[in-house]
């Protein structure tokens, strides 16, 4: 460790500066390319898929934020549903502007998350995952039972759209791109702040963490609250974008797929859920000609990741590099002998 520090401090100043700016520059370039995409893509359908990708990226990244505290939330799609239905109900029945309902619904989802997270902080590991799963099922059943207020089985329709009717999809595209960027940056700052470090300490050992003065219950509830705020934001945005909601899209399988978005990318790194969501949402769309067979594509990709990349897709470059080095070493040995 100390060796490393000496070597960096002896580097010329210009080189340190270049390293410091290299990564943000790459990310800024990527964002720039994504922002320019609508100029080249004329298809409304592809824009729609990209917008959905942005929404699910917010959901997946916020789900990972909760998992850093050692809790595996299997109610996350249900929280997205809470945000979506609250925003939809507030704008349809109370006539609030979508610009008001989206932040309000996100806040309300965070409050619900905290209220639920507080008793659930008693549960650990698998029991937490299962308790939250059952909570999510309960939420979906309540939406089904909501009758006229939530639309029940036939779905919640005619939610006022965010932009006036007839606005091109491009404006939604930039709105959700901005929302996703803000959420990602906020959650990144949260994860690498002091609070985020405390959460990781709790995940490693709740006993050691509480013995050094980290209030376990408080921090776990905080993580759930922050995660739920952003997933509520995504859900509320989805409600005003899609203007039709169906309870089934927030149920058990939806939560499992959200977990898949996080896991396929790699739960151990911040970029994991972003990559995973992008791949799992976009890939079935490219194989749309296969129609009914397209779930097999997702299953195939999940299978490949499970068997070959234990750390998720993020670890792919590292795996390729180590495989390459191994092969070079073998070649050298073969040459020597």
């Amino acid at each position: 460790m100390s060796n490393n520090q000496i070597s960096t401090s002896t580097l010329p100043k210009s080189k340190i500066g270049r390293r410091k700016w290299a990564k943000p520059a790459v990310y800024a370039g990527l964002v720039f390319i994504i922002a320019l995409l609508p100029v080249f893509l004329s298809s409304v359908y592809i824009l729609h898929i990209l917008i959905l990708t942005f929404i699910y990226i917010i959901a997946a990244v916020s789900m990972r934020t909760i998992t850093t505290s050692g809790q595996f939330p299997l109610a996350h799609a249900a929280f997205m549903g809470i945000g979506a239905y609250l925003a939809g109900m507030a704008s349809k029945w109370l006539g609030w502007s979508p610009w008001l309902t989206i932040p309000m619904a996100a806040l309300a989802t965070a409050v619900v998350g905290v209220l639920v997270g507080y008793p659930f902080a008693r549960l650990r590991a698998l029991y937490y995952a299962m308790g939250s799963l059952f909570f999510g099922i309960g939420v979906v059943q309540i939406i089904y039972a909501g009758g006229v207020w939530t639309g029940g089985y036939s779905g919640f329709t005619a939610i006022p759209p965010l932009f006036p009717f007839g606005t091109p999809k491009v404006s939604y595209y930039y709105f959700f791109l901005g929302l996703a960027l803000v959420s990602i940056i906020a959650l990144y700052r949260f994860e690498f702040s002091r609070i985020g470090t405390n959460l990781k300490a709790i995940a490693q050992s709740h006993l050691v963490a509480s013995s050094v003065g980290i209030n376990e219950g408080w921090y776990r509830v905080l993580a759930v609250g922050v995660g739920c705020f952003f997933v509520g934001l995504a859900g509320a945005g989805y409600a005003h974008y899609n203007s039709v909601l169906s309870p089934a899209s927030f149920g058990f399988m939806a939560t499992l797929w959200l977990a898949m978005y996080v896991l396929i990318g790699g739960i151990g790194s911040f970029a994991g859920p972003i990559i995973g969501t992008a791949i799992l949402v976009l890939m079935p769309e490219f194989s749309r000609d296969l129609k009914i067979y397209s779930p097999f594509i997702s299953a195939l990709m999940l299978g490949i990741v499970v068997y070959l990349m234990p750390q998720g897709l993020v670890s792919l470059p590292r795996l390729v590099r180590s495989w390459y080095l191994e092969r070079r070493k073998e070649k050298k040995i073969a040459q020597v002998s």
Binding site: F72, P119, F120, R122, L123, R124, A125, L126, Y127, M130, G131, L133, F134, F135, I137, G138, Q141, I142, Y144, A145, G152, Y153, F252, M253, L256, W257, A259, M260, L263, I264, I267, I292, Y293, P295, F296, S298, A299, L302, G303, V305, V306, Y307, P310
Partner: protein, 285 residues
């Protein structure tokens, strides 16, 4: 009288089916710590294989039931060897592989059989009529098969050599293998039994109610509730929790209509879980 008899048979049949499927889940979960989220899909495929045997091949129903159990059980051994054993102890990858299995089975059934609701022909036709109530033989048969299987499982787990080896593995896997128990063989046996039980339950429910590609999701939720309400590591707790869930699911719809009764049943399970975070008869994970 009619209502009481109908409700109590409902309770018994639902509980028996839940417990049948949950036992298979619990075997794997207790022994290897595998959260087999594909168990619902295996239960579903059991019903469809039984249907294929009866309608496509024209076999006798009871022969078809036994053949289905054996085939799905063999599939369970395959799953244990290639899908579960490499990932024991890795929660994330187990969830992923289970989703893969579920998606493959559901999509496969969807393509082959379509989404329309099918059902198996009844195992015993006819209705038993008495002075005060009438009850179809189908329900009696479903309950009788379920209860007989549960009795056999209890006897197997408690009294036979293999059953006791299963208990030893679920207590301590390393200690068990030090005592000369072939852990892989016993876990494969447990997986065979679990999948066969799920397949039989699938056939019975397919005859008693109906079959659909997504019927496994509902059953999986019930099984998860049951196993976690009972607590990890408890077989006898599953029976009590199964009865509780069966009562909730068949009595609540009489009092409150529609989805609200499901919501209340789930709420009761969540509250029970919050009171006893480690389940009612189990130990902490």
């Amino acid at each position: 009288m009619e209502l009481i008899v109908a409700t109590s048979t409902n309770v018994l049949i639902l509980s028996a089916m839940y417990i049948l499927v949950a036992l298979g889940f619990a075997f794997l979960f207790n022994m290897l710590g595998i959260l087999n989220l594909a168990h619902g899909a295996i239960y579903m495929i059991g019903g469809y294989i039984g249907l294929a045997f009866i309608t496509a091949l024209g076999l006798n129903q009871w022969v078809a039931l036994i053949l289905t159990a054996i085939i799905v059980g063999a599939f369970g051994i395959f799953l244990e060897k290639f899908c579960f054993r490499p990932f024991v102890g890795d929660f994330n990858r187990i969830i992923m592989i289970c989703v893969v299995i579920t998606v493959v089975l559901q999509t496969g059934v969807n393509i082959i059989a379509g989404t329309q609701v099918l059902s198996l022909p009844p195992f015993i036709a006819g209705v038993l009529r008495t002075e005060h109530f009438s009850i179809s033989y189908e329900r009696i048969a479903t309950f009788a098969i379920g209860a007989a299987l549960l009795g056999i499982i209890i006897w197997f787990v408690n009294r036979t050599r293999w059953g006791q080896q299963m208990q030893a593995i679920s207590q301590d896997i390393e200690g068990a293998s030090l005592q000369g128990i072939n852990v892989h063989r016993i876990t494969a046996l447990a997986c065979f039994m679990g999948c066969a039980l799920a397949a039989i339950a699938g056939c019975l429910v397919g005859a008693y109610l109906c079959l659909g590609p997504f019927m496994g999701d509902f059953m999986l939720l019930k099984v998860l509730m049951l196993v976690f309400l009972a607590g990890i590591g408890s077989i006898s707790g599953i029976f009590i929790a199964g009865l509780v869930l069966g009562c909730l699911d068949s009595i609540l719809p009489l009092l409150i209509s529609g989805a609200a009764s499901d919501a209340i049943a789930v709420a009761i399970v969540v509250i029970l879980l919050l009171f006893r975070p480690q389940g009612f008869f189990g130990h902490e994970a």
